[in-house]
Symmetry: C2
Subunit: 204 residues, 2 copies
């Protein structure tokens, strides 16, 4: 299978090892739900490497991703107990960010989204995690709650070994330009087209 073959060698002054270990900005966009699933699959690999995984969900419904959340929280506990894999933090906007005093206060989603990004920015500058999953983070940018220029700037000058995975539809062109990897999941066929509803274990 020809996957993983390098077809060109870049003229960027880096050694192969430096290029190999360059931290990435990965954007999973497109029309389908698969984009978050793929992002969490990637985070799973990071966990297995012993990396610290921080998940930040910019979604309103508490029901979303409960499967991934349960699995990653379990992996985080496993790390705490046995040292296997890496530590995991899972934060979500839906019920108020866990670090916030305003917890449980619904209402101002714009302010909550801005607060979430401010915390992520602090963590990136302090190099807290090796993997950040910013789930559905394209929407706060699309809606003007978080400035895409600031996000791109913070990502560009982040230090150390921090991979950042961003999911959501309609990723801003500035973000796509700044990303190292952009993946788009296309639906060829899906039962919701034929009236089937989402089901437990599959859609969440």
């Amino acid at each position: 299978m020809p996957q993983g073959q390098v077809t060109t060698v870049p003229d960027d002054g880096l050694t192969t090892r430096q290029r190999r270990n360059r931290p990435l900005v990965v954007v999973h966009t497109g029309e389908m739900k698969g984009k978050s699933t793929a992002a969490f699959g990637l985070a799973l690999r990071g966990w297995a490497q012993g990396w610290s995984v921080g998940v930040f969900q910019f979604v309103k419904s508490a029901r979303w991703r409960v499967g991934e959340e349960a699995a990653f929280r379990a992996l985080g506990r496993l790390h705490a107990e046995t040292g296997e894999g890496g530590p995991v933090e899972w934060h979500k906007m839906g019920e108020g960010w866990s670090w916030s005093r305003k917890r449980g206060s619904e209402g101002d989603h714009a302010a909550q989204a801005a607060e979430g990004w401010a915390e992520i920015r602090r963590r990136i500058e302090a190099q807290v995690h090796e993997v950040y999953v910013l789930d559905e983070f394209t929407y706060p940018m699309k809606w003007g709650w978080v400035e895409v220029e600031e996000v791109v700037e913070v990502l560009a000058r982040r230090e150390g070994r921090q991979h950042v995975i961003i999911t959501g539809r309609d990723a801003a062109s500035e973000l796509v330009a700044a990303a190292d990897v952009v993946m788009e999941t296309t639906k060829v066929k899906h039962p919701m087209d034929f009236g089937q509803k989402g089901q437990r274990g599959i859609e969440w």
Copy 2:
């Protein structure tokens, strides 16, 4: 967000609950590596539901998916110890299937692939797992080592609640036709285009 909306109601004589809980055949195909990552993300949800997860890797290199394998094996042990989530089995062709006496014998990949499929078929007929991940299983079909007609037939008459996820490029049209969900991951941009090699925690 309009995700999850049902736009039509099918005339299939099933109740909403029956449709909701219909076991699925999911095919992740396309050019990119993301397809397996997405498949394992989906299996993660199944684990969190307490489902039995069986992974069968039709790949040669032992290095592939080591991150996912470590994470899923950890989740399987967690289940065995605490009852959380579901049990996990992880089998790979690369070093000879674990149930096989011929273990460690490299060589006849066609025979190994056929043996792998025969075991999966037995398990589907015995309803052993709730989630099957048949990773890179499109290739043995493409190369004629496993008959796609037989696969489609076994999937079509499988009983109980068994979700089957198949990954790999060039899925046969009969398989696509038989699948409930077909997802294709398209690369918009990837560092390998610019000469960057795969890196630990990201590509495997």
